[in-house]
């Protein structure tokens, strides 16, 4: 039995101290130890992106990160995307408005990946959105409405930035 490792990390703004097996995957820490089951597992080869979360502000596939590698880090999952007290992040609202989800399984990862995309590129073209989401698989929607939702959310976020100061968004 390998030696357990103490780690400390912040998840959705809350501090956690845990002891974990070195091999514990971050996605399993989030889902099984912290009960944050919004982050999903869809594959075992780092392709599908359903497990995408933000690690220190950037999108990563949490199935390919060890929990021990997140020691000292800040993690944001879908449950923490909307700032506390707010209803929905513009991406969540846009996905709803534009019917960018059907079964919902890929959706948390897709939204987290899209948030990272928009942080890097606040005004992406359709092509940039499509290639920006190449790390996330969806079997239901055919991506058409996902692309629209990301564009609509991008516009909303740009408008919010241009206008009043906004609550913290990723």
């Amino acid at each position: 039995m390998s030696t357990r490792v103490p780690i400390r990390l912040s998840v959705n703004g809350r501090e956690h101290e845990l002891e974990v097996e070195p091999r514990l995957l971050l996605v399993h820490l989030l889902r099984d130890r912290l009960g944050l089951t919004g982050t999903h597992v869809g594959c075992d080869t780092s392709n599908c992106g359903a497990c995408t979360v933000h690690l220190d502000g950037e999108a990563v596939k949490s199935c390919t990160v060890l929990a021990v590698q997140a020691d000292g880090a800040e993690v944001t999952t879908i449950e923490g995307l909307a700032a506390a007290g707010d209803g929905l992040h513009p991406l969540q609202a846009a996905f709803w408005e534009d019917h960018a989800l059907q079964c919902g399984y890929c959706t948390p990862g897709m939204i987290m990946a899209a948030a990272d995309l928009l942080a890097r590129n606040p005004d992406p073209s359709e092509e940039e959105i499509r290639s920006g989401l190449e790390g996330n698989l969806c079997r239901c929607t055919g991506y058409h409405n996902i692309v629209r939702a990301v564009r609509d959310a991008a516009a909303e976020l740009r408008a919010a930035r241009a206008g009043a100061p906004t609550p913290e968004v990723v």
């Binding site: 091999r23 596939k61 190449e134």
Partner: protein, 281 residues
């Protein structure tokens, strides 16, 4: 999906990391971004007994220009290099690796140390004639790209050694192009070609380097192509003629996506396209 058990250390100095590796023996491995190693471990195709996480070791990140080279810390992520025009072919190529989530974790040192001929950066290092610096119990070594990649997933890096830095010639004034032909955008290349071209004042080819991805057990130089072009014209016909030799001397393994013949054909086509682009740049 579940890796086998292993022990873990995350030292905060390079010496500490080296010591941990030495103590861990043959089955200890350094861990950078983990996006080459962890997928293998999750499929139980690799089972190191100890992972020495380098993330706390200072001084291994960043890209700095020094004389005619870029010094890039081994733990520099693809995301920190992607699309940066000043980094030339490195900036171009890192943007093509996998997807953004992977690029946010994968590192240049990790990718080169993994030694996968289907990865893009080994080819680029080889074509650019860069080097990697490794530290080990025996001290510091600099490994030229041509000596680094020995066989499939096998490099000249010895057990107990850690890549600390990558040096890429800045290749000022060279045109560059990386042509990557993959099934889907996020896939490894079926075949990839790195072309670097320096024009002489009269427009002819002063120098040229061509690297091939996934055409063998290691990245390869298309030397016949280089010989054919070097010192001669850089017009479309010359490039096309030279590119015809891209597969010379190669014996690419077939896989699910491509037979050896098709790979050889792709190598020729992509070499022509890469050279064309690099020559026009």
């Amino acid at each position: 999906m579940i890796p086998p058990e292993f022990d873990y250390a995350a030292p905060d100095t390079l010496d500490g990391a080296l010591q941990a590796l030495a103590d861990g023996g043959e089955e200890a491995k350094p861990l950078a971004g983990g996006h080459s190693l962890l997928p293998l471990m999750k499929l139980r195709l690799a089972a190191p007994t100890l992972l020495v996480d380098l993330r706390r070791v200072p001084g291994l990140r960043g890209a700095e220009r020094e004389n005619g080279s870029w010094r890039i810390g081994a733990l520099t992520r693809h995301a920190d290099l992607q699309s940066r025009a000043e980094l030339g072919v490195i900036g171009e190529t890192t943007a093509l690796i996998a997807d953004q989530q992977v690029r946010n974790r994968g590192t240049i040192g990790g990718s080169l140390a993994h030694g996968d001929p289907a990865s893009d950066l080994p080819t680029v290092l080889l074509a650019a004639e860069g080097t990697v610096t490794v530290r080990g119990p025996g001290g510091i070594r600099e490994l030229a790209a041509a000596d680094l990649f020995r066989d499939y997933l096998t490099t000249a890096i010895a057990p107990g050694e850690i890549v600390t830095e990558v040096r890429m010639p800045a290749l000022e004034g060279w045109g560059h192009a990386y042509e990557k032909f993959s099934r889907r955008a996020e896939d490894w290349a079926m075949v990839g070609v790195c072309a670097l071209v320096r024009r002489a004042p009269d427009g002819s080819c002063a120098d040229v380097r061509v690297g091939l991805t996934n055409m063998g057990a290691t990245p390869l130089r298309a030397s016949a192509v280089e010989r054919s072009l070097r010192g001669g014209p850089l017009d479309r016909e010359a490039i096309a003629r030279a590119a015809e030799q891209a597969a010379e001397g190669t014996d690419p393994p077939g896989d699910l996506n491509a037979t050896p013949d098709y790979k050889r054909h792709l190598a020729r086509v992509l070499t022509r396209r890469a050279l064309q682009r690099a020559a026009e740049a």
